[in-house]
């Protein structure tokens, strides 16, 4: 009997050993995913300028409790790195985590040794990274390419020459940074756009390779350059403007569920957050100016939310905030765009998953959200406190007309 027991135990261990060995060969690349710190809130801006509106946006970021900023280029438009970074220090603090990609209005004063008596932006960025203990993959930022991790958020920054070296250099760099990366949340950051990746008058200035490389690796794509805010639905092919209809089922021919997006290998969403303080623009394409926006060629109903001077008046400035690892779920994030006037104009959920997720009731994202009824001209709005009700979700506004903004909640 003891012999039988010994034989059975031996068989059990042998079976276990071979099963685990098979798993090792079948799933060779399984790595434990590393999420961000819980409730890690990041602000995304671009195109700031050096005026009062840029300061107001920084104060908004501070008041919303953001723990880091990603600024997608076009800093102060003055080529004064000392003044620009000095303002950051003054409003947010000298050790506040502020990460940048270079814009076309920063370029000539970017590289270390730029020769600008007011300083070089890259040097200030490097010094700040060192102060906060963040080590970039390469200490030389002059090539406008670098990556870093902060509080579990993987960030990849690329430069301005997308049209010339996007395919040969930027996309392979993105691929090399992300293909073996085990962070749950990844951000690709650059300044410029492709024409169909914005709703103004910008043309193709980055090439598609960088967009597709980030999408293939399941990274969120953060851009600016066009002085507006817009966000896409989940895309499974960015160049062809293909919306993931599993996540956004068609309703009357229009992909629905715009405020619940997926991020996973092969799918992601793109946003332009270019209302950091300088010269806000209107919506030139993908009309009309209210949801579901345009569905024709070049638009294809990809846009989930658009906020320009056509929707927000003459001072629609603000920032996009994304909070990662929310509600105890490391694979869940929530986002909202808030203006300096206190308007929350976009609210959405992000799930790190390739499995379609239907929109579900959410807790209020920002207890201090204030909805403002814009008056014509937008200079003296009235204020009405309308917090997002608990266990509800903000639905896209069907039609925004001057004088009143209606927010529909679904319970």
């Amino acid at each position: 009997m003891s012999t039988n027991i010994f034989i059975n135990i031996n068989r059990l261990f042998t079976t276990l050993f071979f099963s685990m060995s098979m798993l090792f060969f079948i799933i060779p690349n399984v790595q434990a995913q590393v999420s961000t710190d819980p409730n890690f809130k990041v602000a995304f801006i671009g195109d700031a300028g050096n005026g009062n509106n840029a300061t107001a946006v920084l104060n908004l970021i501070k008041n919303e409790g953001a723990q880091a900023v990603l600024h997608q280029g076009d800093f102060d438009y003055s080529y004064n790195a000392t003044a620009f970074w000095g303002k950051i220090d003054s409003v947010l603090g000298a050790n506040f985590p502020y990460f940048v990609s270079v814009g076309n209005h920063d370029n000539t004063s970017w590289a270390e040794g730029c020769g600008d008596p007011d300083g070089c932006y890259a040097k200030f960025q490097k010094d700040r990274l060192a102060r906060i203990g963040v080590v970039p993959d390469n200490p030389d930022l002059n090539d406008q390419l670098y990556s870093a991790v902060y509080k579990g958020l993987k960030m990849i920054f690329v430069g301005l020459q997308g049209n010339s070296i996007g395919t040969s250099t930027y996309a392979p760099y993105i691929q090399s940074q992300l293909q073996t990366d085990n962070h749950t949340w990844k951000i690709c950051s650059w300044h410029k756009n492709q024409g169909t990746m914005q709703v103004g008058s910008k043309t193709d200035e980055m090439g598609w390779a960088v967009y597709e490389a980030c999408r293939q690796q399941g990274a969120i794509i953060a851009t600016a350059h066009e002085h507006t805010y817009e966000r896409t639905k989940t895309l499974t092919n960015i160049q062809s403007l293909t919306v993931d209809t599993a996540q956004h089922p068609l309703v009357g021919g229009i992909p629905g569920n715009p405020n619940s997006v997926l991020v996973a290998p092969g799918k992601t969403f793109v946003f332009v957050s270019g209302l950091g303080g300088n010269g806000p623009r209107n919506q030139d394409r993908c009309l009309p100016t209210s949801y579901p926006y345009g569905g024709g060629s070049g638009c294809n109903y990809i846009w989930a939310n658009i906020w320009t001077t056509d929707q927000g008046g003459s001072s629609p400035f603000g920032a996009l905030f994304i909070t990662f690892n929310v509600g105890g779920n490391p694979n869940r994030a929530t986002g909202y765009f808030k203006s300096i006037a206190g308007q929350v104009v976009d609210q959405f959920e992000i799930i790190k998953s390739s499995t379609p997720v239907t929109i579900s009731p959410t807790q209020p994202i920002s207890p201090t959200s204030i909805f403002i009824s814009p008056t014509p001209g937008g200079l003296t709005p009235t204020r009405t406190r309308t917090p997002t009700p608990p266990n509800s979700t903000v639905l896209p506004t069907q039609n925004v007309t001057p004088g009143q903004v209606c927010t529909y909640f679904k319970n």
């Binding site: 300028g49 438009y77 003055s78 010269g279 009309l287 001077t309 014509p376 937008g378 001057p402």
Partner: protein, 142 residues
């Protein structure tokens, strides 16, 4: 004498042209009328920098609101152009704000407001020339 084959060919050509026309209309932005080299009909009377040429313009409507945009080209440096526009708008009683001119090096902007009307003015260098944009966001039709 027209042969049956010729008639068929003509019909096919007409169908082809109709398809192209439908596709062109589909690609137009709804509610938007554009013009190249001139101002669209109904473009409001606003200051125009002398010697500038209209590159393109458009008008867009969403029922109760109307908006416009016009892009001009000129050789005047963008900062000078913006200072001219600011002074001209002020002479006509417009309030100037959101100003990004002083201390700015490359892309200039301001907002002008008069009553319920708003105009956003931009200037930046573009391919060796200065491009000036006058944007009138969607506003109530007067």
């Amino acid at each position: 004498m027209i042969k049956r084959g010729h008639v068929l060919l003509i019909i096919l050509v007409l169908i082809f042209l109709a398809i192209i026309a439908v596709q062109k209309n589909k690609q137009q932005e709804p509610g938007k009328v554009s013009a190249q080299g001139r101002l669209v009909d109904g473009f409001p009377e606003l200051p125009v920098l002398p010697n500038s040429t209209v590159e393109k313009s458009y008008k867009k409507e969403d029922g109760v609101r109307i908006g416009y945009e016009a892009d001009y080209l000129i050789n005047t440096p963008p900062r000078e152009a913006m200072i001219w526009y600011k002074l001209e708008f002020q002479k006509l009683g417009w309030l100037i704000y959101n100003e990004q001119i002083e201390g700015i090096e490359s892309e200039f902007a301001f907002t002008a407001k008069k009553g319920d009307q708003i105009v956003n003015v931009f200037a930046e260098s573009e391919d060796g020339k200065t491009e000036i944009s006058l944007e009138i966001p969607l506003q109530q039709k007067l």
